[in-house]
């Protein structure tokens, strides 16, 4: 799980000037002060959100 936040994909997304980019930046920022439990929760939430973004795109196309 801890690999998600350090991945190149996340770093790329964090540069976006979009709601998704802001979201990823917020998660990275919160992860800096998070303990291990909070970190797991953050990563799961981020994974869920990115999957939803991706899933809706898939449905639409």
């Amino acid at each position: 799980m801890t690999r998600l936040l350090g991945s190149a994909h996340i770093k790329t997304l964090a540069r976006e000037e979009s709601v998704r980019g802001v979201l990823v930046r917020m998660v990275i920022e919160q992860a800096e002060d998070a303990d291990s439990d909070e970190m797991v929760l953050l990563e799961k939430a981020l994974q869920l959100l990115l999957t939803r973004f991706q899933a809706l795109e898939g449905n639409a196309s």
Partner: protein
């Protein structure tokens, strides 16, 4: 960067053809089915891959490949892709055809391999975009629905700012909330739902089974533990600071005590030394007042300068004249702050003592009475009497509860009022303290309370030295009495010392008189110093005792919080950590899922808010500017709310939602929003804007204004328009746009011999 050319080796209906573009506006014109959209979609397909290969693969052939060439900033980037195998070659060269970077590998759409990451990172660094959806959302203007409603437009805009071509963040938010409320009725963002959901039902089942489980959502406790952790963190910081201050204070008091002992010893030795000489002391032996006051370690005045003496005495090198006034102010502030601790502590105790209303017990008793009455009705046993009795009892109990509630609220309100008054007073004192600290800092003096107390002590001991310093400065002498000295009484003789000191050299002829005067004043001063030190010690000790009490209170609160946190985590482990049955396991899974859903909702809502704060104002301004131009000033501004619903300003005070506007106006608005969005997102690596027939509903006048606007927007970059409108062709000829004509059968490209002007000549 601009898109210099698209090489279509085998793509859709194109075979072995090259379409060239140039900076500024490019018009790709042709009838329906001429391949305009295919050409437009070749760009993202080559850059990122596609999942609609069948659309682009030429019929009857087993190859499908194309290449894009971008140019700009002295570099040329070529991206070539075989769409069947997803093999990609990327080559970056400089003006002298030196290779700067290159990549070759398999990169399918949404691939996650190492080579995909490498390629996307390279693409991101070269073109500023590494995501197909973002590229489409930013630079692509495709066909859109024929009928726009306000909500559709808002939805489209939300999609665009979401960061992908097809995803509306509001839809995701709704989905997450739906899923959340399918699992639990508990609502952390508002009122709970009425009907129990899976989680509550499961909790009830477990409670019935073993009677230990409570239908209390575990995440409530999680939130509480987060709060407690935050409180502990804050308190630990405060406690550590206070502890350090306390230690400093203890050290300082110890130092003052030592000085007092040394001072009393030196007094005894001086008296012993003076008395046997029977008052026959020569002028050179007469102790000047400053010598009397000088500590043992201070150097004699003859050997060192006054400022060095000041330094040696622990005073500032250049003490300002405001020093006594500042120290007096600081002492007052300290006293006021210390005096305020007691009312606060009293108020806390008072608040704790206000009784809570036992609503649970009262309602429980009322329900029990009602149940008793119901049973009596069923059994037909004195029903009316029992009902009346139960009603009266319930009413009395509830009335008593209400009275308690009102009294409690009243008492709490009084406490709040008192607290706010005290807070206000404390704030004022703290403000004065901050001002004083600023003044101290501006004068190069220490500003902490402990340092100021220390300085006060030094000033008291060395005030003669200070008087000499200020006198030497040729300024009017000031009273340097400390507040402690004032409190001792008006018999202080600092002024006398100064007079004695200043006249000392002039009165050598009258030795005896002066000797006598100076000895008297020195003795008097010693006794005053001892008194001052005693008083100061007492004051400091009382201050320190109060401080210590506060410290102990904080320590006990910290311990209490740690215990609470420990209890919570123990409870959490005992509930969640022991799966036990399948139901326990399911409950644990539900709790975890609910926690993740809540976090996701909070994150997404936070991101939307943050995006609104950071980008919406800029987007509104940019769009308003462009829309004003397109509508020739008819609509001066537009405004997007937090749901991306646009309103248009129709006059100075009136804003109109887009539903009430014509389709042409809404189309124009959409277009301006897209251009504004691309500008807001632009980070200097501008890619071409690609517009696929976006002007269907614009009238001639608005079309002209829009085209002017696009012309302006493309001044620093590149715009590629795809259209079947022949009128645009005429305008292209007038405006000297670059034209790429397509017909239904073959492609008339500019090829490589036409250069930048070939397209115009072809159309003409």
């Amino acid at each position: 960067m601009i898109l210099r050319s698209v090489e279509l080796e085998s793509f859709g209906k194109f075979r072995g053809q090259t379409v060239e573009f140039r900076r500024g506006v490019n018009l790709v014109i042709g009838p329906n089915e001429a391949g305009k959209s295919t050409l437009a979609e070749a760009v993202p397909a080559v850059l990122f891959g596609t999942d609609r290969l069948e659309r682009f693969k030429p019929w009857g052939r087993n190859s499908c490949s194309a290449a894009l060439i971008f140019e700009g900033q002295g570099r040329r980037v070529q991206v070539k892709r075989n769409l069947i195998t997803d093999e990609v070659e990327l080559l970056e060269k400089d003006d002298l055809y030196h290779t700067l970077s290159q990549f070759s590998g398999k990169v399918p759409l949404r691939g996650r391999s190492a080579s995909c990451r490498e390629y996307l990172a390279l693409l991101d660094s070269l073109l500023g975009v590494a995501d197909e959806s973002l590229f489409k959302a930013t630079y692509f203007f495709g066909h859109h629905p024929q009928e726009w409603s306000g909500e559709e437009l808002s939805q489209k805009l939300r999609t665009l700012v979401s960061g992908s071509a097809e995803t509306d963040y509001a839809e995701i938010l709704d989905d997450l909330l739906d899923e959340h409320f399918q699992l639990t009725r508990s609502n952390p963002w508002g009122r709970d739902k009425q009907r129990d959901r899976e989680y509550e039902e499961l909790c009830q089942q477990l409670a019935q089974q073993d009677g230990t489980e409570e239908a209390v959502p575990i995440f409530v406790e999680l939130d509480a533990s987060a709060d407690i952790e935050a409180q502990i963190e804050k308190l630990v910081g405060e406690f550590e600071n206070d502890r350090q201050e306390h230690e400093k204070g203890l050290r300082y008091i110890e130092q003052v005590r030592q000085q007092k002992v040394e001072s009393s010893e030196s007094t005894v030795s001086t008296e012993a030394k003076v008395l046997p000489e029977d008052k026959k002391i020569s002028t050179s032996d007469v102790a000047r007042p400053d010598d009397v006051a000088r500590p043992d370690d201070a150097p004699p005045p003859d050997d060192v300068s006054l400022s060095e003496q000041l330094l040696a005495a622990g005073l500032p090198k250049n003490p300002p004249r405001e020093l006594p006034e500042l120290l007096s102010g600081a002492a007052n502030i300290r006293q006021e702050l210390a005096a305020m601790q007691q009312p606060f502590s009293f108020l806390n105790n008072r608040e704790k003592k206000i009784p809570k209303v036992p609503w649970g017990a009262l309602i429980g008793i009322s329900v029990a009475l009602a149940a008793g009455a119901a049973i009596a009705w069923l059994q037909n046993f004195y029903f009316l009497q029992l009902l009346l009795g139960a009603g009266v009892c319930s009413a009395l109990l509830l009335g008593w509860g209400g009275w308690l509630h009102v009294s409690r609220n009243k008492a709490l309100a009084e406490c709040r009022k008192e607290r706010s008054r005290l807070d206000q007073k404390k704030l004022e004192v703290q403000k004065r303290q901050a001002e004083l600290s600023e003044r101290c800092e501006a004068l190069g003096l220490p500003s902490s309370a402990i340092d100021l107390v220390r300085l006060q002590k030094m000033v008291d001991v060395h005030r003669d030295l200070l008087a000499r310093w200020w006198k030497q400065d040729n300024a009017p002498e000031e009273d340097i009495e400390s507040p402690h000295v004032e409190s001792v009484g008006s018999h202080n003789t600092a002024g006398d010392y100064d007079n004695t000191a200043s006249d000392h050299d002039a009165i050598t002829s009258d030795h005896d008189a002066i000797d006598s005067d100076e000895e008297d004043s020195a003795d008097e001063k010693r006794s005053i110093n001892v008194e001052e030190t005693d008083q100061e010690l007492l004051e400091l000790e009382s201050l320190l005792a109060e401080f210590e009490a506060g410290l102990k209170e904080k320590e006990s609160r910290l311990q209490e919080l740690r215990l609470q946190l420990n209890d919570l985590s123990t409870a959490r482990r005992s509930k969640g950590g022991n799966p036990g049955t399948v139901q326990h396991q399911r409950k644990y899974e539900l709790e975890e899922r609910i926690a993740v859903l809540r976090k996701a909702v909070n994150l997404l809502a936070g991101a939307v808010d943050e995006f609104g704060r950071s980008h919406l104002v800029q987007l509104n301004n940019e769009t308003s500017k462009l829309f004003r131009k397109i509508t020739n000033g008819r609509y001066p501004a537009i405004k997007l709310d937090e749901n991306m619903a646009p309103s248009i300003q129709v006059d100075e005070r009136r804003w109109m939602p887009v539903e009430q506007l014509s389709r042409g106006t809404v189309d124009a608005l959409y277009l301006t929003l897209r251009i504004a969005l691309a500008k807001v997102r632009d980070d200097g690596r501008t890619l071409p804007l690609m517009l696929d027939d976006p002007f269907v509903h614009l009238d001639q006048k608005r079309l002209a204004a829009t085209l002017n606007l696009l012309d302006l927007a493309s001044a620093d970059g590149q715009l590629i328009l795809f259209s079947h409108n022949l009128d645009l062709g005429k305008r292209a000829a007038r405006e000297r746009w670059h034209v790429v004509p397509l017909d239904g059968d073959a492609v008339n490209t500019t090829s490589d011999e036409g250069g930048d002007h070939a397209g115009q000549l072809h159309l003409l």
